[in-house]
């Protein structure tokens, strides 16, 4: 249970995961230390969300090991995972708010379930958490009534409700305006610097990435292409990394991840299948 400063908070070793025949995570190893803000970058569909899903234990790897707070999670059952999950927060790419509850109830949910606070205290915590993400007074709205960026921030408030030691954010700033992005970035910085929280952030937003990262990882085709401090990444001579951080259309990063080799029976003649599907009733 006890993690000393030099022992990694998260230790991923030789993680391997396939969907069908395609390896989405290909023998990936990484370590994350206390107080770090690790930014994970990489093209769309390269497996960033999938990597997070494995680390938080909602997906099981084909092979490989994952240790959180020094404990192996891949072989744990639901009940054993519960203990570890209370110690981290996760912001999903889609927000993943419970649609049947109000914004306030969503943020209150972990507090109601896992603490013995009184309703008044919970209400106060909810108010505080919503305020730090800039959503004061939105407690009574339903998730369907707020914008995409607001959902993200409610998801962040919920992830922070229990003051976790470890925060996973899947694209916390996508869909936010530049000012809100800066607010959320400052929040992450505050939490990691002042409270010693460890953050793992997936993002496509390079400004935000360089602002918060203490270390960066670039993923491609399921494994790590480059890693290092923000300065090392900025000056890295890998052309894929340069293309990515400068946002250029031409370069070595493949535009389309082809699935042909893996699914020869699906790929050919898509239009014919489509026509058969939609027009077979015409005379």
């Amino acid at each position: 249970m006890n993690t000393t400063a030099d022992q990694p908070v998260i230790e991923v070793a030789d993680l391997y995961r396939t969907f069908g025949k395609r390896a989405v995570i290909n023998h990936l190893s990484l370590e994350i230390y206390r107080g770090e803000t690790l930014v994970i970058m990489g093209g769309s569909g390269c497996g960033k969300s999938t990597l997070l899903r494995h680390i938080i234990g909602v997906m099981k790897p084909t092979s490989g090991s994952i240790k959180i707070f020094g404990e192996e999670t891949t072989a744990m059952n639901e009940r054993e995972l519960t203990g570890i999950r209370r110690r981290f927060g996760m912001l999903f790419q889609s927000g993943a708010l419970l649609a049947s509850l109000t914004v306030g109830e969503n943020v209150a949910l972990p507090l109601i379930e896992h603490t013995k606070l009184t309703p008044d205290e919970i209400e106060q915590v909810v108010k505080d958490k919503l305020e730090i993400v800039g959503l004061k007074g939105f407690e009574r709205m339903k998730p369907a009534e707020i914008s995409g960026g607001m959902k993200k921030r409610v998801g962040l408030a919920r992830a922070l409700a229990l003051d976790p030691e470890l925060l996973f954010s899947d694209e916390p700033t996508s869909g936010l305006d530049p000012i809100m992005t800066a607010v959320v970035d400052r929040l992450t910085l505050d939490l990691t610097r002042k409270r010693g929280m460890t953050a793992v952030v997936v993002t496509h937003d390079m400004t935000s990435a360089f602002r918060i990262a203490t270390r960066m990882i670039m993923l491609g085709r399921g494994s790590i292409i480059a890693q290092g401090t923000p300065d090392e990444i900025r000056n890295c001579d890998n052309p894929e990394v340069q293309q990515f951080i400068n946002g250029e259309a031409d370069g070595p990063v493949p535009l389309n991840i082809s699935q042909d080799e893996d699914h020869p029976h699906i790929a050919p003649r898509p239009l014919v299948t489509a026509r058969g599907r939609f027009h077979n009733k015409t005379p």
Binding site: T82, R85, M90, A96, P110, H114
Partner: protein
């Protein structure tokens, strides 16, 4: 099938074992589900039961008239309703209305990552989402069926009163004379079994949706079709057990 058995096992754990370990379930979500599954179904159930009562009475009146035995109409209506028609047809309504809604709701939660989010917050989805629906169904379906029995018998009485010149006392006497308490109990036992099957099938279909909106649609259909089949087969088995084996 493996998923279904697993779901039942964890449901049993959360309903019967966890409360003794100090993890009680909360009342307010159960009540919310009872309103949704049960109370809102009352008009439909009442209308169904009324029409069944009326048609049963009309059909039996015609046949019995040929034997000069209209006097037995109340008996026939009551027995048929309590033993078979009430439980089965009201379960059909509840499957179509509440079972499908539960499957669609849970399926939507599954595809929008809500169930994953619950797991990550260390909240067990079975305890949080399924237990309230399960308990609500287990209370409300039998309650609806008892209500349906009354309404159906009332429908039978309407026919007897308007068309066959029964008086109220005659009808009630006939109804009481033909049915013993066991008829009522067997219907209630059936309804508890139906409730269990309907809600677990619907929850299982919803929790294991794959893909997007299309998957939710398929799960909804599956919950209705499998729910109906399971209900009808178990009804036949229970009828054998209750009325044929004795």
């Amino acid at each position: 099938m493996k998923n279904y058995l697993q779901l039942n096992l964890s449901l049993l754990y959360w309903v019967f074992i966890a409360p003794f370990k100090g993890q009680f379930f909360k009342l307010s979500p159960i009540i919310r589900q009872m309103v949704f599954i049960g109370v809102r179904a009352v008009p439909m159930v009442a209308l169904t039961a009324l029409t069944i009562g009326i048609t049963l009475a009309m059909q039996s009146a015609r046949s019995l008239q040929q034997l000069g035995a209209e006097i037995y109409v109340p008996n026939l209506v009551t027995v048929a309703l309590l033993r078979e028609m009430g439980p089965v047809l009201i379960a059909v309504i509840v499957i179509g209305r509440s079972g499908s809604a539960v499957a669609a709701e849970l399926g939507t939660m599954k595809v929008s990552e809500e169930i994953e989010a619950l797991e990550v917050m260390a909240i067990n989805p079975v305890r949080f989402l399924i237990v309230p629906r399960f308990l609500a169904m287990l209370v409300m379906l039998p309650a609806l069926i008892i209500l349906g029995n009354y309404v159906g018998i009332f429908g039978g009485w309407l026919v007897c009163w308007l068309a066959l010149d029964f008086n109220v006392a005659g009808f009630i006497l006939g109804a009481l004379e033909s049915s013993d308490l066991w008829d009522l109990y067997s219907g209630v036992v059936k309804s508890v079994v139906f409730a269990w099957l309907v809600i677990t099938i619907a929850c299982n279909a919803g929790m294991h949706v794959e893909g997007g909106a299309e998957g939710v649609g398929q799960a909804t259909t599956k919950s209705v079709v499998h729910g109906l089949l399971a209900m009808l087969v178990s009804n036949a088995l229970l009828t054998v057990l209750f009325f044929f084996g004795r």
